[in-house]
Amino acid sequence: MASQQIFSFVVSDPVGLHARPISQIVKLAQSCDFRLGLRRPGAAAVSADSALRLLSMKVASGEPLELVIETDDDSAARAIALEFGELLARPS
Protein backbone atom coordinates (compact mmCIF):
# COMPACT_ATOMS: atom_id res chain seq x y z
CA MET A 1 0.00 0.00 0.00
CA ALA A 2 1.27 3.45 -0.86
CA SER A 3 2.19 5.75 1.96
CA GLN A 4 0.26 8.92 2.64
CA GLN A 5 1.88 12.25 2.03
CA ILE A 6 0.25 15.15 3.74
CA PHE A 7 0.49 18.80 2.73
CA SER A 8 -0.98 21.70 4.69
CA PHE A 9 -2.71 24.68 3.15
CA VAL A 10 -4.75 27.67 4.16
CA VAL A 11 -7.62 28.63 1.88
CA SER A 12 -6.76 32.18 0.94
CA ASP A 13 -9.50 32.71 -1.63
CA PRO A 14 -11.79 35.31 -0.01
CA VAL A 15 -14.85 33.30 -0.99
CA GLY A 16 -13.56 30.07 0.55
CA LEU A 17 -13.64 26.78 -1.29
CA HIS A 18 -16.30 27.56 -3.87
CA ALA A 19 -17.51 26.04 -7.11
CA ARG A 20 -14.71 27.18 -9.41
CA PRO A 21 -11.69 25.96 -7.42
CA ILE A 22 -13.62 22.84 -6.53
CA SER A 23 -14.22 21.97 -10.18
CA GLN A 24 -10.49 22.45 -10.78
CA ILE A 25 -9.55 20.32 -7.79
CA VAL A 26 -11.86 17.57 -9.03
CA LYS A 27 -10.21 17.74 -12.45
CA LEU A 28 -6.78 17.52 -10.83
CA ALA A 29 -7.87 14.56 -8.71
CA GLN A 30 -9.37 12.75 -11.69
CA SER A 31 -6.36 13.29 -13.90
CA CYS A 32 -3.79 12.25 -11.36
CA ASP A 33 -2.60 8.69 -10.85
CA PHE A 34 -2.94 8.73 -7.06
CA ARG A 35 -5.82 9.03 -4.70
CA LEU A 36 -6.23 12.56 -3.40
CA GLY A 37 -8.09 13.35 -0.23
CA LEU A 38 -8.90 16.60 1.49
CA ARG A 39 -9.54 17.09 5.17
CA ARG A 40 -9.65 19.55 8.00
CA PRO A 41 -6.76 18.78 10.36
CA GLY A 42 -7.88 15.96 12.64
CA ALA A 43 -10.97 15.13 10.61
CA ALA A 44 -11.66 12.33 8.13
CA ALA A 45 -10.56 12.95 4.56
CA VAL A 46 -13.00 13.40 1.73
CA SER A 47 -12.25 12.09 -1.74
CA ALA A 48 -11.07 15.04 -3.83
CA ASP A 49 -12.63 13.68 -7.01
CA SER A 50 -16.16 14.39 -5.77
CA ALA A 51 -17.33 17.96 -6.20
CA LEU A 52 -20.33 17.29 -4.00
CA ARG A 53 -18.26 16.00 -1.12
CA LEU A 54 -15.87 18.94 -1.39
CA LEU A 55 -18.76 21.40 -1.57
CA SER A 56 -20.47 19.88 1.42
CA MET A 57 -17.32 20.49 3.51
CA LYS A 58 -18.27 24.17 3.41
CA VAL A 59 -14.69 25.40 3.76
CA ALA A 60 -14.44 29.12 4.50
CA SER A 61 -11.65 31.53 3.66
CA GLY A 62 -8.76 31.28 6.10
CA GLU A 63 -9.43 27.68 7.09
CA PRO A 64 -6.53 25.23 7.23
CA LEU A 65 -6.80 22.16 5.03
CA GLU A 66 -4.70 19.07 4.48
CA LEU A 67 -4.20 17.43 1.15
CA VAL A 68 -3.56 13.71 1.49
CA ILE A 69 -1.83 12.04 -1.43
CA GLU A 70 -1.47 8.28 -1.52
CA THR A 71 1.83 7.61 -3.18
CA ASP A 72 5.43 6.68 -2.49
CA ASP A 73 6.63 9.05 -5.19
CA ASP A 74 7.79 12.13 -3.25
CA SER A 75 8.49 14.37 -6.20
CA ALA A 76 5.22 13.58 -7.95
CA ALA A 77 3.37 14.31 -4.71
CA ARG A 78 5.13 17.66 -4.33
CA ALA A 79 4.22 18.63 -7.90
CA ILE A 80 0.57 17.83 -7.25
CA ALA A 81 0.63 19.74 -3.97
CA LEU A 82 2.10 22.76 -5.75
CA GLU A 83 -0.63 22.69 -8.36
CA PHE A 84 -3.25 22.23 -5.70
CA GLY A 85 -1.94 25.22 -3.75
CA GLU A 86 -2.33 27.43 -6.79
CA LEU A 87 -5.95 26.38 -7.18
CA LEU A 88 -6.66 27.33 -3.58
CA ALA A 89 -4.90 30.67 -3.71
CA ARG A 90 -6.10 32.04 -7.00
CA PRO A 91 -8.72 34.71 -6.39
CA SER A 92 -12.12 34.11 -7.97
Binding site: P14, V15, G16, L17, H18, A19, R20, I22, S23, Q24, S50, A51, L52, R53, L54, L55, S56, M57, K58, A60, S92
Partner: protein, 147 residues
Protein backbone atom coordinates in the same frame (compact mmCIF):
# COMPACT_ATOMS: atom_id res chain seq x y z
CA UNK B 1 -38.17 47.80 2.37
CA UNK B 2 -37.67 44.77 0.21
CA UNK B 3 -39.90 41.81 0.93
CA UNK B 4 -38.10 38.70 2.05
CA UNK B 5 -38.55 36.18 -0.75
CA UNK B 6 -38.17 32.45 -0.40
CA UNK B 7 -34.97 31.26 -2.01
CA UNK B 8 -36.94 29.05 -4.36
CA UNK B 9 -40.45 29.86 -5.50
CA UNK B 10 -43.04 27.66 -7.20
CA UNK B 11 -42.49 29.51 -10.48
CA UNK B 12 -38.79 28.73 -10.21
CA UNK B 13 -39.38 24.98 -10.41
CA UNK B 14 -39.56 23.48 -13.90
CA UNK B 15 -39.97 19.78 -14.71
CA UNK B 16 -39.56 18.31 -18.18
CA UNK B 17 -37.65 21.11 -19.89
CA UNK B 18 -36.79 20.03 -23.46
CA UNK B 19 -33.24 21.47 -23.57
CA UNK B 20 -30.86 19.02 -25.20
CA UNK B 21 -27.50 20.82 -24.98
CA UNK B 22 -25.46 22.37 -22.20
CA UNK B 23 -25.90 25.83 -23.69
CA UNK B 24 -29.67 25.46 -24.07
CA UNK B 25 -29.87 24.19 -20.50
CA UNK B 26 -27.93 27.09 -19.03
CA UNK B 27 -29.93 29.63 -21.03
CA UNK B 28 -33.16 27.95 -19.92
CA UNK B 29 -32.07 28.31 -16.30
CA UNK B 30 -31.28 31.97 -16.93
CA UNK B 31 -34.70 32.55 -18.48
CA UNK B 32 -36.40 31.19 -15.40
CA UNK B 33 -34.42 33.57 -13.20
CA UNK B 34 -35.29 36.48 -15.53
CA UNK B 35 -38.99 35.60 -15.42
CA UNK B 36 -38.88 35.56 -11.64
CA UNK B 37 -37.43 39.06 -11.74
CA UNK B 38 -34.37 37.87 -9.83
CA UNK B 39 -31.88 38.89 -12.53
CA UNK B 40 -31.57 41.19 -15.51
CA UNK B 41 -30.90 39.63 -18.88
CA UNK B 42 -27.17 40.38 -18.67
CA UNK B 43 -26.89 37.70 -16.03
CA UNK B 44 -27.98 34.97 -18.44
CA UNK B 45 -25.13 35.72 -20.82
CA UNK B 46 -22.71 35.77 -17.86
CA UNK B 47 -23.96 32.34 -16.76
CA UNK B 48 -23.11 30.86 -20.12
CA UNK B 49 -19.71 32.60 -20.21
CA UNK B 50 -18.92 31.25 -16.78
CA UNK B 51 -20.10 27.78 -17.78
CA UNK B 52 -17.73 27.74 -20.75
CA UNK B 53 -14.78 28.52 -18.51
CA UNK B 54 -15.56 25.98 -15.81
CA UNK B 55 -18.21 23.33 -15.98
CA UNK B 56 -20.78 23.78 -13.24
CA UNK B 57 -21.58 20.07 -13.14
CA UNK B 58 -21.12 18.83 -9.59
CA UNK B 59 -21.86 15.14 -10.02
CA UNK B 60 -24.82 12.82 -9.41
CA UNK B 61 -26.58 14.30 -12.43
CA UNK B 62 -26.68 17.88 -11.23
CA UNK B 63 -25.18 21.17 -12.42
CA UNK B 64 -25.33 24.55 -10.72
CA UNK B 65 -25.09 27.28 -13.39
CA UNK B 66 -24.38 30.73 -12.02
CA UNK B 67 -22.88 34.05 -13.10
CA UNK B 68 -19.52 35.65 -12.56
CA UNK B 69 -18.45 38.14 -9.90
CA UNK B 70 -18.79 40.92 -12.47
CA UNK B 71 -22.35 39.91 -13.27
CA UNK B 72 -23.56 40.31 -9.69
CA UNK B 73 -24.74 43.77 -10.65
CA UNK B 74 -27.49 42.09 -12.69
CA UNK B 75 -28.87 40.25 -9.65
CA UNK B 76 -31.90 41.93 -8.05
CA UNK B 77 -32.44 39.40 -5.29
CA UNK B 78 -30.96 36.07 -4.30
CA UNK B 79 -32.79 33.20 -5.89
CA UNK B 80 -32.53 29.57 -6.97
CA UNK B 81 -34.23 27.95 -9.93
CA UNK B 82 -34.72 24.21 -10.32
CA UNK B 83 -34.88 22.99 -13.92
CA UNK B 84 -35.15 19.30 -14.72
CA UNK B 85 -34.79 18.05 -18.28
CA UNK B 86 -36.79 15.57 -20.33
CA UNK B 87 -33.61 13.75 -21.33
CA UNK B 88 -30.24 13.71 -19.58
CA UNK B 89 -27.84 16.22 -21.17
CA UNK B 90 -24.24 15.47 -22.10
CA UNK B 91 -22.29 18.00 -20.01
CA UNK B 92 -18.66 17.62 -21.07
CA UNK B 93 -17.60 14.40 -19.30
CA UNK B 94 -20.73 14.28 -17.18
CA UNK B 95 -24.43 13.75 -17.68
CA UNK B 96 -26.82 16.25 -16.18
CA UNK B 97 -30.46 15.52 -15.40
CA UNK B 98 -31.30 18.73 -13.56
CA UNK B 99 -29.87 22.14 -12.82
CA UNK B 100 -30.07 24.29 -9.74
CA UNK B 101 -29.36 27.76 -11.10
CA UNK B 102 -28.04 30.32 -8.67
CA UNK B 103 -28.48 34.08 -8.56
CA UNK B 104 -26.59 35.59 -5.67
CA UNK B 105 -25.51 39.13 -4.96
CA UNK B 106 -22.93 38.35 -2.33
CA UNK B 107 -20.96 35.29 -1.34
CA UNK B 108 -24.11 33.64 -0.11
CA UNK B 109 -23.89 31.10 -2.89
CA UNK B 110 -21.02 29.30 -1.19
CA UNK B 111 -23.29 28.38 1.69
CA UNK B 112 -26.09 27.61 -0.78
CA UNK B 113 -23.89 25.22 -2.68
CA UNK B 114 -22.70 23.53 0.47
CA UNK B 115 -26.28 22.98 1.60
CA UNK B 116 -27.27 21.73 -1.82
CA UNK B 117 -24.35 19.32 -1.84
CA UNK B 118 -25.36 17.89 1.53
CA UNK B 119 -28.89 17.52 0.24
CA UNK B 120 -27.80 15.63 -2.88
CA UNK B 121 -25.54 13.32 -0.88
CA UNK B 122 -28.67 12.07 0.85
CA UNK B 123 -29.90 9.33 -1.45
CA UNK B 124 -33.59 9.77 -0.62
CA UNK B 125 -33.49 13.49 -1.28
CA UNK B 126 -31.51 13.00 -4.46
CA UNK B 127 -34.08 10.53 -5.80
CA UNK B 128 -36.90 12.84 -4.82
CA UNK B 129 -35.35 15.72 -6.76
CA UNK B 130 -34.81 13.52 -9.79
CA UNK B 131 -38.30 12.05 -9.94
CA UNK B 132 -40.91 14.16 -8.15
CA UNK B 133 -43.57 16.03 -10.08
CA UNK B 134 -44.64 17.94 -6.99
CA UNK B 135 -43.30 21.49 -6.90
CA UNK B 136 -43.94 21.78 -3.18
CA UNK B 137 -41.63 18.85 -2.55
CA UNK B 138 -38.81 20.61 -4.39
CA UNK B 139 -39.50 23.86 -2.55
CA UNK B 140 -39.40 22.06 0.76
CA UNK B 141 -36.12 20.35 -0.03
CA UNK B 142 -34.33 23.35 -1.49
CA UNK B 143 -35.67 25.97 0.90
CA UNK B 144 -35.35 23.91 4.06
CA UNK B 145 -32.70 21.39 3.11
CA UNK B 146 -35.10 18.48 3.61
CA UNK B 147 -35.25 19.09 7.33
Amino acid sequence: MATEKALVQADGVVFNHPAATREAAVLACGEVLVKLGAVDRGYVEAMWQREQKYSSAIGLGFAVPHGTDESRKFVRFDQLAFVRFVNPIQWLEETVEACVAIASRANGHVELLANLASLLLNEDHLNQLKTTLDRQEVLLLLNDGGR
